[in-house]
């Protein structure tokens, strides 16, 4: 079949291109410009070459924040993806229960990040918070302000509470798109519940799962507001993720050069990991 190529169609992309240029490319260019210079204020800049990049790449502070960030993303993906799939399988397919479930699931997604942080900050407090007080009453030594493990558990639980619904809703959309004929054929073949999940539901959910994994990975790798509100990066530096460290450096210390170099490295890591995720998942989908 001969396709007609009409390159004038590229003009349709122009509005998006302009929008992205203003919102992303120009700020990114400025960051690149800052990353090779030093400033002492007054909008005066001095050439510094690649020193900030060398400093960042060899800094233990950066390595530690990167490891914390990767660990956080892996932990929340390992919890939210299976949990989201599990929840989506239990949502009813028809009847009044559908709307109730969907509204309840969507509620955490509607709450702004800083409010989620504030809710969990109060919720986890040992003196007045329901969670902290209950755990203390049960005899557990829980204090997210002083104990790094408790701080991590709180931040992870908060993220799971906030975002598992997104995974569940995406999976539910994938499940709803499966025609009844597939289930009828499985029934005729006498397929088990596990076989239906493994060979019908899971493959059909792959596309939405790709989106869910990508969204959750990128979002968790860029997490800032919630841990900043709950733990402020502490105790010590135990929950200081890359973004928190970056803001401390750029706004707190006003070290624009090192912060810009760190932003670029951070951006490249996100770009690489997202590309790998996207390529692996779309190609395994094609192979199926």
């Amino acid at each position: 079949m001969n396709k007609t190529w009409n390159n004038k169609a590229w003009f349709m992309v122009l509005p998006v291109f302009l929008l992205v240029a203003i919102s992303a490319i120009i700020p990114l260019m400025t960051v690149v410009n800052y990353s090779v210079q030093d400033t002492f204020g007054n909008n005066e800049f001095f050439w510094n070459g690649t020193d900030w990049f060398v400093d960042t790449l060899t800094s233990e502070r950066f390595h530690a924040a990167l490891v914390r960030n990767l660990s956080f993303s892996l932990i929340i993906l390992a919890i939210e993806i299976p949990l989201g799939i599990g929840i989506s399988l239990t949502i009813p397919k028809k009847g009044w229960g559908v709307s109730v479930c969907l509204v309840l699931m969507a509620l955490p997604l509607l709450i702004p990040w800083n409010v989620v942080g504030t809710i969990w900050q109060v919720f986890g407090r040992v003196d007045i918070g329901l969670l902290g007080h209950t755990l203390a009453a049960l005899g557990l030594d829980y204090n997210y302000v002083q104990d790094p493990i408790d701080a991590w558990a709180t931040v992870v639980a908060m993220d799971v509470w906030h975002w598992t619904s997104l995974v569940a809703l995406l999976c539910y959309a994938g499940l709803s798109a499966i025609p009844d004929a597939y289930y009828q054929a499985a029934k005729i073949d006498g397929a088990s519940r596990w076989a239906v999940f493994r060979y019908i539901q899971l493959p059909k959910m792959k596309r939405v799962l790709t989106i869910a994994v990508l969204l959750r990975f990128m979002d968790s790798f860029m997490i800032y507001t919630e841990p900043f509100v709950v733990t402020g990066g502490g105790p010590g530096n135990s929950t200081t993720f890359l973004s928190i460290d970056l803001v401390k450096m750029a706004i707190g210390q006003f070290d624009l050069g090192p912060a810009a170099a760190m932003s670029i490295i951070y951006f490249l890591i996100i770009l690489l990991l997202s590309w790998i995720f996207y390529t692996v998942m779309t190609n395994s989908e094609g192979a199926n």
Partner: protein, 93 residues
């Protein structure tokens, strides 16, 4: 035009102009040979020439970062390695 608010320097301007030239070059290539020349290479999945440029640029960024971290601040060798890497990507990926 006053671009001092973006703190421009000649090296960063040349860097972005090079990227822009590459994108314009790719557009011209696409105009004359439409379709992106998709093929399955050593990565065992289909790539177009846009994908190959992306892989080349992203890989080059990491080659430069790796060079800075392990070898030192002289990036001319990193640039040479990146050019060889990009040629290999366009040839085999």
């Amino acid at each position: 035009m006053d671009l001092s608010w973006m703190a421009w320097t000649w090296p960063t301007a040349i860097f972005f102009l090079t990227i822009l030239t590459m994108l314009i070059g790719m557009s011209v290539w696409e105009y004359f040979v439409p379709g992106g020349s998709p093929r399955v290479g050593v990565l065992r999945f289909e790539t177009t020439r846009g994908d190959r440029l992306f892989v080349s640029l992203l890989g080059s960024a990491f080659i430069h970062l790796g060079w800075l971290a392990f070898m030192g601040p002289n990036l001319w060798w990193a640039l040479a390695v990146s050019v060889v890497y990009a040629v290999l990507v366009f040839r085999y990926v």
